[in-house]
């Protein structure tokens, strides 16, 4: 008998689309957290497929640290327009001006952690009951325990011990007023799955994922883009290198890798043979062994 079998990308796609449709069916004010990085691009691409030919039933929300790669913001605006989505931006700067958070100082200053407050405030302001994110379980050990539907209390906090069991494909989105869910449709994707899918579907991504020359500096063995937002240490200096980014986040804490990968095939080959994880060069995760977990508990992405 002929056997019906899906390859891994189609199975992952089917699962993610199921999750996205469940969100549209179960929640009143869902948003899609859009950063302009490859994972949120894939999440929004899948959302388009899930509801075609109707528009995506989620507003896009970007929490802007103000320290972005200009290429990402340009890409974000084009992409949102292409998809016909509505974009809401909330600025960390506004949270600072309102005195909700205070800017870090010193050479390690980053606005990455401050995003949490801006995000949780936006969720409250916009009465969001489901915030879809592109996080994957393979990224980091505390993410490995995330559910597809991850419950947050009224303070936006995550309690890893008190999560709802998720069985079969039955997702329970019931919640009390003020509580919300973080939804992770890409939970089961790995970095290489994402790139293989981008290639298979011919999805556009910001050019800084590909090899290019840039002014950089080296800190604790990692390469960072030089920009107005960083302050160099005594022994640090700017040099020019051929690099690319494996993840896109805040400019001050997203590390680059030296790479000559100029197209998707090169990237897939590079990721497949890489001996380092993509988060290995993010300062924000290196602060302590449990730093992502601590931030997640507080309401981070």
């Amino acid at each position: 008998m002929f056997s019906y079998n899906l390859d891994h990308l189609r199975e992952l796609e089917a699962e993610s689309i199921f999750v996205l449709r469940e969100v549209a069916a179960q929640f009143e004010h869902p948003v899609l957290l859009f950063s302009g990085g490859k994972d949120s691009i894939v999440a929004s691409y899948l959302a388009r497929k899930a509801f075609y030919p109707a528009p995506i039933p989620f507003t896009f929300l970007h929490v802007d640290t103000g320290h972005n790669f200009p290429e990402t913001i340009r890409f974000r605006d084009e992409w949102v327009k292409e998809l016909g989505a509505e974009l809401i931006v909330r600025y960390v700067q506004d949270s600072i001006d309102k005195g909700r958070v205070s800017e870090e100082s010193g050479i390690h200053a980053s606005r990455n952690a401050l995003q949490t407050t801006t995000l949780v405030d936006a969720i409250e302001e916009l009465k969001v009951d489901a915030a879809i994110g592109g996080a994957r379980r393979d990224e980091e050990k505390s993410r490995a325990k995330e559910r597809f539907f991850s419950h947050r209390d009224e303070f936006g906090q995550w309690e890893p011990r008190n999560q709802r069991p998720e069985l079969w494909s039955l997702f329970n989105g019931h919640h009390r007023k003020g509580e919300h869910f973080r939804i992770f449709p890409l939970s089961n994707w790995t970095e290489i799955d994402i790139w293989q899918y981008i290639k298979k579907e011919n999805i556009r991504v910001p050019e800084i994922y590909f090899s290019h020359e840039r002014d950089v500096f080296v800190r604790e063995g990692n390469i960072y883009a030089f920009s107005d937002f960083v302050q160099l240490g005594k022994d640090e200096h700017v040099s020019r290198k051929v690099i690319r980014f494996r993840t896109i986040g805040d400019m001050t804490c997203t590390g680059a890798v030296e790479s000559v990968a100029t197209n998707l095939e090169d990237i897939i080959r590079e990721v497949a043979t890489s001996r380092y994880t993509e988060r290995g060069s993010r300062i924000d995760d290196q602060r302590s062994e449990t730093s992502l977990e601590d931030r997640k508990r507080a309401g981070y992405f």
Partner: protein, 419 residues
């Protein structure tokens, strides 16, 4: 690590008692398939050193959240990923504690295969029986019993054989179709990814070979056509003024454009006009694909309805018998009321009778104690406010499963499998 994009996915769950070597085994699989990155390895090395170890403690690779690091145990289901040239693997790593039946059930619900560990020195213990019972209850199609720590019993064949015999004896009372027995040493790597030279008497495959080759394409029901409608797509746009698409994930069978279909509960019939995803039209679609379907006729269809073939309809009714795993501190009792989620359909139900509770170590039925507490498994009868359209869980895991939701706390309190 793999490059190929033409591979399939095997989902498996790992279970064992504390200290049987589950974390070490997962660490070993990841390490020997070169799935551990340099920066993760460094972190494990420094954590091993802090614990006063000279070498690499592979069990620390799968070490999860802070709370469990403090206690030194896994407390919740964690997922791990790796791939080889043949397959992508998703491991749901369920902890071994008795009180965490819930986690194993969760991990088992989406698995193709369960990997059960026993310590060769201890043999088949109570926990082994619990795990095997849950695997069979959740109908995981494939089971692997890993007899671990063979290095501590001199790689002795008789010890292996007597454990195999014990397990066979127990599992003959369960419904498991496919069981493999593999003697391993997770610590040294024997028969995990690489063939052991210490056990020439073992003729079978390594664990990894088995995981890479076990036949899973018939794990899903490809016979009974079931399409629970998840969402109705109505653009009402200039370009698509009258479009009505039914979005969902196929739970069973194969649907083709042109097929005559029936919609439940209304009973209206029509034909499939198109089936596909976004701009891409398909000739046929099968489980577990997510698709959008349009029909020839305009019928009123909403979320929770089910599209099936006229000549093969699911069972229907309001009185349902189920096996249930209970996850909540507040016991399930006769007369309790809950919300019930079944496919994309939600109804209320009342528990009419708790028929028995299962002693999952002895497989005895306990009839005199009619409440099901946290982590209990039993058989119940419920009545729903509206009819459900369902298959027995044995026939279809997706149209035969339900979750119970407490209306007050909104929590998921139980998982049911329709008999």
């Amino acid at each position: 690590m793999m490059h190929s994009s033409d591979i399939d996915i095997l989902r498996f769950t790992t279970c064992g008692s504390v200290d049987d070597g589950k974390s070490t085994l997962i660490g070993r699989m990841l390490f020997d398939t070169k799935s551990i990155m340099e920066d993760q390895l460094q972190a494990v090395k420094s954590a091993s050193a802090r614990r006063g170890m000279s070498g690499l403690d592979l069990s620390l690779i799968t070490d999860g959240l802070k709370a469990e690091r403090e206690q030194g145990i896994t407390i919740d289901v964690a997922y791990r990923y790796f791939s080889t040239n043949n397959r992508k693997f998703i491991i749901s790593d369920a902890p071994g504690h008795i009180q965490y039946t819930r986690n194993m059930v969760t991990g088992a619900s989406s698995s193709n295969l369960a990997l059960i560990l026993v310590d060769a020195r201890k043999g088949v213990v109570e926990q082994t029986c619990r795990h095997a019972f849950i695997a069979s209850l959740l109908r995981i199609p494939h089971l692997v019993l890993c007899i671990n720590k063979m290095d501590l019993v001199d790689y002795n064949q008789d010890i292996y054989q007597s454990i195999v015999d014990d397990f066979r004896n127990f599992s003959s009372r369960l419904e498991v179709q496919d069981v493999q027995y593999i003697p391993i040493s997770a610590l040294n790597g024997d028969n995990v990814v690489h063939r052991s030279e210490n056990m020439p008497w073992y003729q079978g495959t390594t664990l990894m070979y088995h995981l890479e080759h076990v036949h899973i394409s018939s794990d899903l029901n490809q016979i009974d056509c079931r399409f629970p409608v998840q969402y109705v797509i109505r653009p009402r746009s200039e370009k698509f003024p009258d479009y009505r698409g039914y979005a969902g994930r196929i739970s069973g069978g194969v649907f083709r454009a042109g097929d005559p279909v029936m919609v439940l509960p209304s009973g209206f019939t029509s034909r499939i006009k198109s089936i596909g995803l976004a701009e891409k039209e398909l000739e046929e679609a099968f489980a577990p694909m997510s698709v959008t379907m349009t029909l020839e006729d305009d019928i009123d269809i909403s979320r929770g309805d089910m599209i099936v073939r006229e000549n093969n309809v699911p069972q229907s009714g309001q009185d349902i018998e189920l096996m249930i795993c209970w996850f909540n501190k507040r016991a399930l009792q006769s007369d309790s009321r809950y919300l019930l989620q079944h496919t994309t359909h939600e109804v209320r139900c009342q528990v009419k009778e708790v028929r028995y509770k299962m002693d999952i170590t002895t497989l005895r039925r306990i009839q005199q104690d009619p409440a099901l507490g946290m982590n209990d498994i039993g058989r119940i009868r419920i009545r729903t406010t509206q009819p459900l359209y369902y298959d027995s869980y044995r026939r279809n895991r997706y149209t035969g499963s339900v979750i119970f939701i407490d209306e007050q706390t909104q929590e998921t309190v139980g998982a049911g499998m329709i008999i």
